[in-house]
Amino acid sequence: MVKLPEKNKYGFYEIRMESIGGMGANIAGKIIAEAGVFSLGLNAISFSSYGSEKRGTPVKSFIRFSETDDEIRVNSAVENPHMLVIFHENLKKTLAVLAGFKKGNTVILNTDKSPSEARDYLEIPSGKVVCVDAIRIASEEKTKLNVVMMGAISRVSGFLTPEVLIEAMKETFGKKYPKLMEGNIKGFKRGYEALKIQEFTDDGKYKEVAYEVLERDVGYDNQPMGGVILQIGNTAMKDLSTSREAKIPVFLPEKCIHCGLCESTCPDYCFVFEEEVVDGKQKVINKGINYQYCKGCMRCVSVCPVDAIVEGAERDYNVDDMTVTLTMDHRINPGVINE
């Protein structure tokens, strides 16, 4: 049996993955834990934060390793991970991804940033910061993001060797999707190799953020009776930009014929159509896209008859400058909430 590199006071080595539904963190967690159990002689549990969340919404996946065969008695979420793996850098915008992270531990981030940029972006107090441009590698190798991230996890962990993880991957994907295995292994290997790693000492620049169980402002004293919601349409305060996987629709107003097809196909109601007087006539005009809600499905690109909406790579654009919001709706509190 291999020895775990570190253990907390209960004897566990813990990994927390912060991800988005559809990126495969849950399955990666299962593969990694399974490899630990069958190939490394460890004991493990693997589980995820479940809800009725759909593709594109934040999800956490947890692995808890132990060297003994005794029942792993802690069922709850990993609060202080030895290794924190972040599948999408935009998660930082809406979630306290670093909550519970202890000084000196390890963060793996999917990004094209350098480790020192990533440290400042995530506000990491100290520890090992590992950056991997997993989106690029995954798209080049035509594989899933999670296999690239597993490559990175393998190298950084030290004990989850590539051989055992690739073996476990074959066990999970190999039977169902044998054709994809070659790309998966390539993606894994590049994830293993293409890392930018830097250690940061505790220079006091950033503080640890405590892990907190979610508690809302609304509780039993002020929750409207029966669970009724008195607000109107307040999901409009949410920022859904983390649902996008690197692609955005780009609106080219000069080509637009204002036919309304994009507005009719957009599931997220991102298109802003407004009545205006043009050349002395009352006309309905397509003003553009509100990227706060755009999940990057590209339905609008596909449906546009005149190529006035085209696909672009999000990293090439500043969506905040491009965002258009309604001027004639009934907003009285146009803030954005963080959860």
């Binding site: 559809g22 004991n43 759909k54 593709r55 029942e71 402002d217 349409g233 409009a236 309304g260 159509f273």
Partner: protein, 761 residues
């Protein structure tokens, strides 16, 4: 005598272990209906079946009530039957439970515990399982995946014992156990499991022509009490036999369980009693407190029916104070059911002086942390010392909220006025000659700026079809709306507390009952209006929104509502499956399609069900047979057509009665299809007449888009080729199946054309 049979190590969840047990025991029949978090049991069993690992006949019921009926019927046939459910599924099936036990047919039901609605919560607590306490079933509690498997085997053996003959529930914690992968052991050889449970020897069964029997007679006094006395005795017998079976199981597996399990109880002055997964967390808290010299222990039970009263009395006999933690409450009784039963049990021991306090924890899936456990243990310890006054009853984890919180400050929109919701851009004209309506002025561009009824920020998957459909449909509706959504993706992604995407009033009810619920509200509106309790000027259009799943389980109430012809609209988004629970087959799933409960494998080609004529359900024609004033099929590929039909639906719903409109709604995630191309996928369904566009206005059928006339007709494979779930149907080996489907699509289309041509049809 120990005779350990070979075991194999696996890494599995509680749900996978339940499926594994049923797979190895090779049940005859499983009747089921998907409900989170128990769904994976049927899914895993079906996956194993598709790979030829078992011969279990999987029967996808129309709801949990139907599933329980299927299981009951099958069990009267003398074979082995299994089912799995959770929460409202268990409650919907509840009336069948005493039938099963009262007529004494054993079966196995895995209950993956979850909070009972409402409001709807899909996470784990014990509010569901406690409803089964009085049902006459043996109830074992599987606190971890290993026990789920072991207790499935043990439970069935006890239930099938000649002196017992009772059905069995094995309850495990939703998500905590059902979805957590752990290192576990299973029998290597299925035969060893089958030998352990032995042959099922039904006392009576319905399939013996030489011995006809009457099962379930009409039985009043003075006989019923004797039937129940027998049941009571059978439960006593189970109490006697269970330890023997636990012992025998230990002999073949080296995993021997006791009825009640305890940790550090030998010298404990105070203790905690807690069921299932939270027990492990509590043992860790005991270790921490013991380090500080606090003498505490923790107890759980592996069985709650029959109730282990002797073991409970024994384990607590020297404990000064005991905190019973319940993951549910018997509201008004100041405790959950375990508190009440343990208090009663200790009262029966004349030498017992234990002080019992009750704590409600973990409702709706709230985590029970080690500090929660330590907190309760400390309270019990303080109660034991008599140093402090400790509340007899309290909740752990409920909080008051911020004092200065002002909900309104977080409001985002002002309510839309009726005028703002009435854009007046569309004209409806009644043709006085025909009595039908003409709709004019529908332009996508003009309607692009109409205020939306549902706002952005909902959590649907990228490319989801529900929201383009709702957007288009509601563009045709003017004035105030009241929405009722049945359970499904559409409601889950729009109303995650404390947020809502709705700008109108919205109601949710469970998806077997939405139509009935809204019909009640409709009649309340008209009656209150008649009595002058609602302003004369105030009007609403009532719109129920359901998926095809909601109209499987809720078909009965939908038909009932149609037959009563209430003034409302039913809008169905049919995405060909149960998507909210992860894509299990619905009756609308195309024949042959792969789903999580109709896998493609060496032994099975996707959805086949029984017989040769189980093609995708034609809900629209079922509704047409109810003779309601307006019926239509719409699709986002023909947006103006959809808006026109929405206008008509509203017109009829406000004047004559029920309007039913069905759209085919894309689910790129589960159809395994690129989100960007979904309008093309829907177009292919329309052009192939898999989903023809037509309306039935006061009994007269009219095709509103005829792809043949436009030279656009394509084969059904055009619809299938875009989707990973149906692509395999285009392969050579499935040619016959594809032809059968095409034949059925053509038959329905030709019939529709005949109806279009002939007003009498």
């Amino acid at each position: 005598m120990p005779d350990i049979k070979p075991q194999e190590t696996k890494f599995m969840t509680g749900n996978e272990m339940a499926a594994m047990a049923m797979n190895q025991m090779n049940f005859h029949v499983m009747g089921y209906f998907p409900i989170t978090p128990s769904t994976q049991i049927a899914e895993t069993l079906d996956y194993m079946k598709a790979n030829g690992e078992n011969d279990v006949v999987m029967i996808p019921a129309d709801g949990e009530h139907g599933a329980a009926g299927i299981c009951y019927g099958a069990s009267t046939g003398g074979g082995r039957v299994g089912n799995a459910t959770s929460a409202n599924g268990l409650l919907y099936a509840l009336e069948e439970l005493p039938v099963q036990s009262g007529t004494r047919f054993p079966m196995l039901l895995n209950v993956v515990t979850r909070s009972v609605s409402g409001p709807l919560d899909i996470k784990g607590d014990h509010s569901d399982i406690m409803y089964a306490l009085n049902a006459g079933w043996i109830i074992l509690m599987g606190k971890d995946p290993q026990r789920v498997y072991d207790f499935d085997v043990i439970g069935l053996k006890v239930g099938e014992h000649q002196d017992v003959r009772l059905p069995v529930i094995v309850a495990s914690d939703g998500f905590f156990t059902s979805h957590q992968k752990r290192k576990v052991k299973v029998f290597k050889d299925n035969k060893d499991v089958q030998n352990f449970i032995g042959k099922n020897k039904p006392v009576y069964h319905a399939l013996d022509p030489r011995h006809p029997v009457t099962i379930g007679p009409y039985m009043n006094e003075p006989d019923l009490i004797n039937n129940k006395y027998q049941l009571s005795q059978a439960m006593d017998k189970a109490y006697e036999i269970l330890p023997q079976v636990l012992k025998a199981y230990g002999d073949v597996t080296d995993r021997e369980y006791t009825m009640v399990e305890s940790y550090q109880m030998e010298d404990a002055e105070a203790a905690l009693f807690i069921l299932n997964s939270a027990f492990d967390t509590a043992t860790q808290a005991v270790d921490e407190l013991r380090k500080q010299g606090v003498k505490v222990g923790v107890v759980t039970t592996n069985v709650i029916r029959p109730w282990p009263y002797k073991e409970i009395q024994e384990v607590f006999k020297n404990v000064k104070a005991l905190a019973v933690c319940d993951r549910q409450e018997s509201y008004g009784a100041h405790g959950g059911n375990m508190t009440l039963e343990i208090k009663a049990t200790l009262k029966d021991d004349p030498n017992n002086n234990t002080k019992v306090i009750s704590r409600i924890y973990g409702l709706g899936g709230l985590d029970f942390s080690m500090s929660d456990a330590a907190g309760v243990l400390k309270e019990a310890y303080e109660a034991a010392k008599g140093e402090k006054d400790i509340n007899n009853f309290d909740y752990i984890g409920a909080y008051p909220g911020k004092e200065d919180y002002k909900g309104e400050a977080f409001n985002f929109f002002k309510p839309l006025t009726e005028e703002e919701q009435s854009h007046g851009k569309i004209e409806v004209i009644k043709n006085e000659e025909t009595g039908f309506y003409d709709v004019k002025g529908v332009s996508l561009r003009k309607l692009g700026c109409v205020p939306k009824r549902i706002t952005s920020g909902h959590g649907a998957c990228p490319g989801c079809g529900i929201f383009p459909n709702l957007n288009l449909f509601t563009k045709g509706l003017e004035g105030n709306l009241v929405f009722l959504f049945q359970t499904g993706c559409g409601m889950v992604v729009t109303t995650g507390y404390p947020h809502t995407s709705f700008k109108s009033t919205y109601i949710h009810n469970l998806f077997q009952n939405g139509a009935a619920t809204l019909s009640g509200l409709v009649e309340m509106f008209y009656e209150r209006k008649r009595r002058g309790e609602i302003d004369v000027g105030d009007h609403f259009t009532f719109v129920m929104v359901t998926g095809d799943g909601g109209n499987d389980i809720g078909m009965g109430p939908t038909i009932g509502t149609a037959l009563r012809n209430h003034k409302m609209i039913i809008f169905e988004y049919d995405n060909n499956g149960y998507m909210n629970t992860g894509y299990q087959l619905s009756y609308s799933t195309p024949r042959g399609a792969t789903t999580a409960t109709s896998h493609v494998g060496p032994a099975q080609v996707g959805k086949t069900l029984f017989g040769t004529n189980t093609f995708h359900k034609d809900t629209t024609q079922i509704m047409a047979a109810c003779n309601i004033p307006y019926i239509a099929q719409v699709a986002e590929s023909n947006p103006e057509d959809m808006i026109k039909k929405a206008v008509k639906a509203q017109t009829y719903a406000n004047t004559e009665g029920l309007a039913y409109v069905k759209t085919l709604s894309a689910c790129p995630l589960n159809w395994r299809s690129e989100p960007s191309i979904q309008r093309d996928v829907i177009k292919a369904a329309v052009d192939s007449c898999f989903h023809p566009l037509y309306e039935v206005e006061k009994g007269i059928t009219k095709i509103t888009f005829n792809p043949e006339e436009k030279g656009k007709k394509v084969s059904v494979s055009e619809y299938f080729k875009y989707q990973g779930r149906t692509k395999h149907l285009l392969k050579e080996e499935n040619k016959e199946l594809l032809e059968e489907i095409q034949g059925e699509v053509d038959r329905r289309w030709n019939r529709l054309k005949a109806m279009d041509e002939n007003a009498c049809l």
